[in-house]
Structure formats: structure tokens, C-alpha cells
Amino acid sequence: MAATPWGKRIFLILVTAFVLVAPLIITGKYHQHIMVMCGIWVIASLALNLIMGYTGQLNLAHGSFFGIGAYATALLVQNLGFSFWVALPLGCAITAVFGYLTGLPTLRTKGHYFPIATMCLGIAIYYVIARWEGLTGGARGLFGLPRPDPISLPFDVTITFKSTIACYYLVLFFVFVTIVLISRLVKSLAGKRLIAVRGNEDLAQSLGINTMQVKVISFTISTLFAGLAGGLFAAYMGTLMAEQAHYLLSFEMLINVVIGGIGTMAGPILGGILLPILGEILQPLAGFRLILYGLLLVLCIHFLPTGIVGGLRAAVMRRRRRREAL
């Protein structure tokens, strides 16, 4: 792995410092709430990018896996009385097992089957959650979920998660975990395999890569992090509706990734922050917001298929080349 250039390193340190002190600067409760939501979206978008951006398989059920993680965590806490700290990893595990089991038959074939199958799956999961009154509360949803239990540290220090700031740092912690794990995975040899499958599946197979295994593993990890984002969402919001597993949610995550920059690490992070903020700004437009998103998506694919990050990179490259030419 090439050493990170100094400019980039300083930039990353500055960004990290900013997000660490951000809630001390931005004190409005509403703004802090948006910051928590951005963190959750960043985790979900990074996860989607792993299967979609790096492995090249369009998953249209990502929002449903988010929903499964959210419901699994919430139900473990509410119905079985588990502590949040046990329920969250279990919720992620349940989501990942579900992802693995659906990945096996749907990733077996090449080409168009996976997006089609995941689209059907997304619709199926949504309707099952919306109608399974006994377990999920059906259309009424679940409410009154507790925030994560306090953590006791030595010297009589306890961390509680009652305030929005505490939740912000909790989510931020998991954002960092997700970024570190996914970026390490992508830069490793396994990551190269993913990218090989995206580039040309037949070629990758002829080079001795077990493409089916690579796709299933990538998909399982992707759903695991979707479940993580869902579990955090459930604990933070305290209420869950079937809409949290709707295919529109999958589409919104897709937009985050595509607009930010598909197949890059920075893209989903940028998209996961920018688009929820844009969503809040466009709140008064109600339904028109999604029409606008749809238009944005179509225009982006036509004119900026690599998203904001890809576009910026291309611009930087052009400038560098021009300077070298002089």
C-alpha cells in the first residue's frame, strides 16, 4: 500500500478533529439530531458501496436489511429483555445470516438476476414487516424502545446515552469502526478480488477466483453493516415503522452512494452527509423532494457517472496533467 500523501493526511486529521468537536460548536438540538442521522446514513451507504461500488452487484434490498437489523435489535431488547450491547451484535448477526442465506441462491447466476431478486426481496420484506402484527406491530410499528444502557467505567464514571450528544459520539464511534474495517478490506487482497469481479466476472473466474464465494462474502459483510446502521437507528429513534424497511429507503441509500461517488471510500461518506442535509432543507417540498432525487439520480448517471468524488478526482487529474504538459 502506497504511503498516504501529506496533504491528504493533514486533510483527514482536520476532518477527524472537526467531527470530534462538532457537537460542541453546533449546539442546536435539531442540528445535532441531523448529525446523528448523517452518521447512521454514512454507515449504511458505506455498506451498500461495498457490494454495489466495489463488487459491482446492485443490491435493491439494502434498506430492507437496514430494517431487519433495526427490528431484530429492537425486538431482542423489547421482547427478550436483552441489553442493547448484546442485542446490537446479535441484530447484526441475524441480518448477516439473512444476507448470507439470500445471497446463496441469488448471487449464483451472473448478470441481471441479482438486482431483480433483491428488488423482489425488498418488496417481500417490506410487506412481511408491515403485516406481521404479532411480531413487528404491523403498520403501527414499534415504539418506546429504550436508549442504549449506560456503560460503567472504573472510578465511578458512567456513560449514559440520554442526550443527543452522547448518541452522536456513539454513532461516530461506529462510523469510524466501519470506515476502518471497510477501507482495510477494500485495500487488502480480498478487496482486489472484489474489484476483479466487478471488472469482468469471467476473467476473474479464469484467474482462479471463486467469484461466487467472493460475491457472497461481500454481500454478507455489506448486510452486516446495514444491520449495524439499523440497530443504531432503532436505539436512537426509539420508534420503528415498516417504512424503515421500505424499498424507497434502499433507493435513498443508492442515491447517497451514486451522487457521492460509486466505488470510492469518500463517496458514500460525502453522500451520506450531504443528502440527508439536502433532505432536511427540502422538507417543505414533501413528495417533490423524491421527484427531485430521481431526476438528480438520472442526471448524475448521464453526466457525472462517477459522482462528486469521481468528478473531483478527474478534475484534479486534468489539472495535474495540464501542469505537467507545460
Binding site: 435493491l60 438476476y113 438486482p115 410487506y127 424507497l248 448517471i301
Partner: protein, 274 residues
């Protein structure tokens, strides 16, 4: 009756897939749009049912051609995933557009006839008979069009071998647009036929598109015969499941069928294989 509707929607989807190799995720949304356009024509302009159905099909034919030209044609040379994403964008635009114009509520759609037949011990409404008869007539007409007219043969040739067709002097881009329009119009007719029996609402396309995809995978991607037969199989399966088991988890059943097909015979009943 459900089978007839599914067969028509799936046939349109299979036509489009056969030529353009795009799984058009927005097909269900266009189906929904067809129903709303006919609804508007009947309610505000007082069109008779059949005229509204015909106009809606014509409008959707043009919209389909337009979408193919503007949204999909420039992407043929790019990775497939881009076309999929554009289709998702179209769903967002159309579904929320319809919701903005007509509102999210269910709407009642007046049918061609409200009479009821009694045959032996079976009671059946006239609209259901109309659905079945129209679907069968249309499917046969479409078969005739593809097999026995020059234009139809050109479409079939393009779907079999795009390059070869091009060498034979067929305007393949034109065929792509025509097929997209035709498939979309077919979806609109299906929606107008079924709308008086069910109700119409902006998200009605979701479950239908899921069914239609499972049907064309069951029938074999791009196979016309497979789409029709698959449509009737899935329609029947859904009705039986709803009748004897539960109406709540029909969508899960459909996904189950999909998983079964993908595990046992991914090329479907009448697929050409990879």
C-alpha cells in the same frame, strides 16, 4: 384473471428485456401511470371505458419510446449497473409525480360493465370476463404481429442477434424504441383492465413488478411463451395461496418461488441458456 394480467405485464417486460437487455424496474410504475391516465380521461373528460383504455395505451406507448430515447439509449455502451440505477430514478420520479398530482389515496375506477353472470354455481362479474378475453385476444394478436409481419420479424431478429440484425439493415435503435413503447403500452392496457376490479393507488406497481420479474425468470428471460405461461402459473399460485393459506404473505411466496427457480433451474422453463 390475475394470471391474464400478469401474463400481459410480464410479456411487456420480456419484450423489452429481449431487445434491450435491460430489466426495466420502472415497468410497474409505468403500469400504474397507465391506470391513472385512463382514470383521468374517464373522470374529467367523460371518455367511455374502451376509449380511455386505448388512449392510455397510446400515451404510454409514446412515453415508453421517449424514456428509451432519453434515459436508456445513451447508456448502452456503459456498464449495465448504470441503466439499473436510471430505472430506479425513473421509479422515484414517476411514483412521486403521480402522488403529487393525484394524491396517495386509493381511487375507484369505473369499469366497462358492472353486470354479473351466473353460470352453474359460479358467480363472475362481467369485468373479469372482459379481462380474460381481452388478454387472450391481445396475446394472440401480439404473437401474430411478431411472427407474421415484417416489423414483428425485425423485432424478433433484433432480440435474437443484435449485430446480425443490424447487418441485415434493420434499424436496431428504432426497434429498441418501438419495443419499449409496445411493452409499456401492454402494461398500460393490463392496468386499465384490472383497475375496475382492484383499486388504483400510486404504489400499486411495486408488487406487480416483483411478480412480473419472477414470471419472466420462471419462464426464461426474454422468452415470450415463457412469460405468458409463467404469468398464468404465478397468477394461479397466488390465487390458490391467498385462498387456502393466507393473503398476508403473498409477496414472500413470490420471493420463495424465485429462490426455487434460481436454485433449481436458473434459465427458467423456456430459457435459451447462457
Amino acid at each position: 384473471m390475475l394470471g391474464s394480467i400478469y401474463a400481459m405485464v410480464a410479456l411487456g417486460l420480456a419484450l423489452i428485456y429481449g431487445i434491450l437487455e435491460i430489466p426495466n424496474f420502472a415497468h410497474g410504475t409505468l403500469y400504474m401511470l397507465g391506470a391513472y391516465i385512463a382514470y383521468q380521461l374517464i373522470i374529467s373528460l367523460g371518455f367511455p371505458y374502451w376509449a380511455a383504455l386505448f388512449c392510455s395505451a397510446a400515451v404510454l406507448f409514446l412515453i415508453g419510446m421517449l424514456i428509451e430515447r432519453i434515459a436508456f439509449r445513451p447508456l448502452y455502451t456503459q456498464p449495465m449497473i448504470n441503466s439499473f440505477i436510471v430505472a430506479v430514478g425513473l421509479i422515484l420520479i414517476l411514483e412521486n409525480g403521480v402522488q403529487a398530482v393525484w394524491g396517495p389515496a386509493f381511487k375507484r375506477f369505473p369499469g366497462a360493465s358492472s353486470s354479473v353472470f351466473h353460470l352453474l354455481n359460479i358467480t363472475i362479474t362481467a369485468q373479469r370476463v372482459i379481462v380474460i378475453v381481452t388478454a387472450v385476444v391481445l396475446i394472440i394478436a401480439l404473437h401474430f404481429f411478431i411472427r407474421h409481419t415484417r416489423l414483428g420479424s425485425a423485432i424478433e431478429a433484433t432480440s435474437q442477434n443484435r449485430k446480425g440484425a443490424q447487418l441485415m439493415g434493420i434499424n436496431v435503435s428504432m426497434m429498441g424504441g418501438l419495443t419499449f413503447g409496445l411493452g409499456t403500452a401492454l402494461a398500460a392496457v393490463a392496468a386499465c383492465l384490472v383497475a375496475p376490479v382492484l383499486l388504483i393507488y400510486p404504489t400499486m406497481g411495486g408488487p406487480v413488478i416483483a411478480m412480473a420479474f419472477v414470471i419472466i425468470i420462471l419462464g426464461g428471460m426474454g422468452s415470450f411463451l415463457g412469460a405468458v405461461i409463467g404469468g398464468y402459473i404465478i397468477g394461479l399460485a397466488e390465487t390458490l395461496f391467498a385462498c387456502y393459506v393466507t393473503t398476508d404473505y403473498v409477496e414472500a411466496l413470490i420471493f420463495g418461488i424465485l429462490v426455487l427457480v434460481l436454485s433449481v433451474k436458473p434459465t427458467g422453463l423456456f430459457g435459451k441458456g447462457h
